[in-house]
Amino acid sequence: MTPAARAELNRRNFLKGAGALIVGFRMLGGDAARAQFGQAPLPGAPPMDQVDSWIAIAADGSITAFSGKEELGQGISTAQQQLVAEELSVPFERVKLIYCDTALTPDQAYTSGSQSHPANFNHGNLAQAGATAREALFKMASQQLNVPVERLSAANGVISVKGDASKKVTYGQLVGGKKLNVALDKNAKRKPASEWTVLGKPIGRPDMAAMATGQFEYVHNVRLPGMLHGRVVRPPAVGATLMSVDENSVKDMPGVVKVVTRKNFVGVVAEKPWQAMQAAEKLKVSWTAGSGLPKQVGFHESLRKQPSRDVKLVDSKDTEQTLATAATVLKSTYYHPYQMHGSVGSSCAVADVQGEKATIYSPTQGVWYQKTTGAMILGLKPEKVHVIFRRGAGCYGLNGADTVTYDAAILSQAVGKPVRVQLSRKDEMAWENYGNAWTIDEHAGLDAKGNIIAWEHEAWTPGLGNRPGPETPGNVVTGMLIGYQPQAFRPGAAQEPKTYNNNSNGVPSYVAGHVGDKSEGTGTVKSEKVLVHNLVSPFWTGPLRSPARLQNTFAHESFMDELAARVKADPVEYRLRHLHDERVIGVLNAAAKAAKWEARPSPKAGNPKSGVVTGRGVACVAYEGDNGYTGIVVEVEVNQDTGKVAVKRMWVGIDAGPISNPDGLRNQAEGGALQGMSRALGEEVTWDDQKVTSVDWRSYHSLPLGFEVPKIECVLVNRPDEEATGAGETSITVMAAAIGNAIFDATGVRLRQIPLTPERVKEALQGEII
């Protein structure tokens, strides 16, 4: 199924009834979340089937496009502007893009899950609105000029008669600020990639100069007349509840306006930010003890014993027998920690709640869901809540954006004035919705020739909360503190899969993916079983760039390397042997070719057992099964005396369908690879028996700007005739496995737990089991 078709199926499934889809929700993260929350627009949103909801042409010929997919730093606004300029044959600068404002733009659910490129660049939404508008303009020009459409051409916002440029009419003259009143036409012809002059070009981002000169307005810079500053006081431990607040403890502090409590929510409003921060520090608050946390040591193994809601993705019902006949059987367990979004700026929002009306400036990925859940927590009618997206620091998924928006709304309502809230670093890090922890068993059988004949994958992953969606503010911490519950957890046995859905990448690339009467996987192995156990997490969790896909791919691609090494096969050749999907094969070959990959098995022969050694590793993925493709080769240096791993070079092959902006794609591939490297080498949420202890940049280990950045070569595989897919979550997905595989190549030692810290590498090299 194509990405666009799957998006449509999700939408239709949603319309049939969301209930059934909640089943796979916690495990599948982003995409099932889209299905659950639906792409069915919420009431009050501009109709998605009308061109006027997407495009407006002013009398001066300038064009305003309206999109429900927002700029988070990933460059999608530039590409959308290119798309509209291309379809309407106007210069890039002629198009203004407005996105994610509940008073103006279509409701396209969340900007998440690598869905912006497939949603708006294929056969619907913004792309089709552009194509329909172009055809409507041609029809109008044909009537006005009395010339058949076939004899017209458009350039620079002017439609003229081919061969007689004096006969012409401008868009402004044709439409002149009026509505087009045309429905989106599925048959309106998109411009073929071969004719593109704006789309597909490496146009620089229009916001770059403002960002580099300190002119850009982030949500952090929004200032409203009479605006006050709020600060929240979170519980000191997970599960702690409020006993009392001594308002007198801050009443004499300068600038303090109000102490606000609501169930377990505590906040302070003051005239200035520093006053609010000091007051929040000084405020005497009594809390109950926390509910206690499981020990971090041994946490991953303890997951196997928890009550679970099970989901099966594929099951050929013969893996047990096939494994019994196998010449060789391998089994490995992989561990991935909780990790955080850790946005460089802590989350911030500004709310102005006046009586029955609210205006909210938020960095949320889902303005429409902030509208409905914001209305819930404020006790207002949704139509009275106006949510306007303003960019925050890069979010990489569900950071503190939604929770801080609730904080600002609650505090503003309490004082009846606009309130800006920015979280402290600790409040951001201790209470965000982390990327889930995972424990994954991989189990495979090989025949006498070394080919894989059966593959079982079984995973355990704890979750709690998620994106709020249309009606679950309790999915993030502020909602919970004011009394809302997170989405319910119901243990239950797995049902047999009815359709193939690999958007969690639970199914390895190398199996057939057979469900019903079709094999939709990317590989050849017919005996297959994938079972996932969803559990309850002690911490909040939610989508973090490449949720589930990254962790599953770490296990699959590490294990594939183990299998190849067992039969002394070259890791690239061994992958190719078990793949049939051209696009996975394409990116794998692209990366290997760029790296001048030399065919040989791992580990590398002749490396000494001490000192610094080098090795190379490979990994690849079809992101979400079919929504973006990456193959990667990395070269590492391992200091066997200190355990330190340095990635020296990377070669990234990436395929996102037709390339909308090559420089934007490259930027995403590079950033994703390095973020994946930071997550693989150092990032891990830590906790004690009461609370999270990784609450700043000393205790949560992100690679800073000063590390030795590897040389990165990106090979962009352009597929102008395929559908546009996601791009921004592909390279990050393969990094951990590629690095682990390179460490194995260099040292002969296999690491199966992320992060690959120097201590862990050194212990593994010394032969200790960790």
């Binding site: 850009f216 500053h229 890069g394």
Partner: protein, 155 residues
């Protein structure tokens, strides 16, 4: 509260502030500047960086009382979108950002260091940036932009 005189981007401002107030809030709130940003409030990430008398400082942990009368420069003080400073131009030309939130700290830290150490090696520049975070990991382009500026400075 007391009257505090701050010289920011060449202009003098008298502000009524608690002297312990970190410089960041005077810049971003009292003066409404967009360059310096709250990232961590702990001096760990660099988002709040300002250049004070030629040295990059973490304004989130620098009380205003300690910078009275000194030359304070923020990202806005270097150049404008129409006339960017050379280092800003290098970042624009290299498209060296994603969300851009960290750019303030990256650009000002690199500039202050290179202005004092125009002949710095690549690894010395890296060392100078070892306390600055970019969570979008736009490192490749940022380092290229900084190298481009370093070549200009070394001329």
């Amino acid at each position: 509260m007391s009257a505090i005189n701050l010289k920011v981007n060449g202009r003098s401002h008298t502000l009524d502030l608690d002297p312990s107030t970190p410089l960041l809030y005077a810049l971003s709130d009292d003066l409404g500047l967009h360059g310096p940003k709250f990232g961590c409030g702990l001096g760990q990430c660099g988002a709040c960086t300002a250049i004070v008398n030629g040295t990059a400082v973490r304004s989130c942990v620098t009380p205003v009382s300690t910078v009275v009368g000194k030359d304070i420069v923020t990202l806005e003080g270097l150049g404008t979108p129409e006339k960017p400073h050379l280092i800003q131009k290098a970042f624009i030309d290299e498209q060296a950002a994603q969300c851009g939130f960290c750019l303030n700290g990256v650009i000002l830290t690199a500039k202050a260091f290179l202005d004092k150490n125009p002949k710095a090696s690549e690894s010395q520049i890296q060392q100078a940036l070892s306390g600055v975070l970019c969570r979008c990991f736009t490192h490749v382009r940022m380092q290229q932009a900084i190298q481009r500026y370093a070549k200009e400075v070394a001329k």
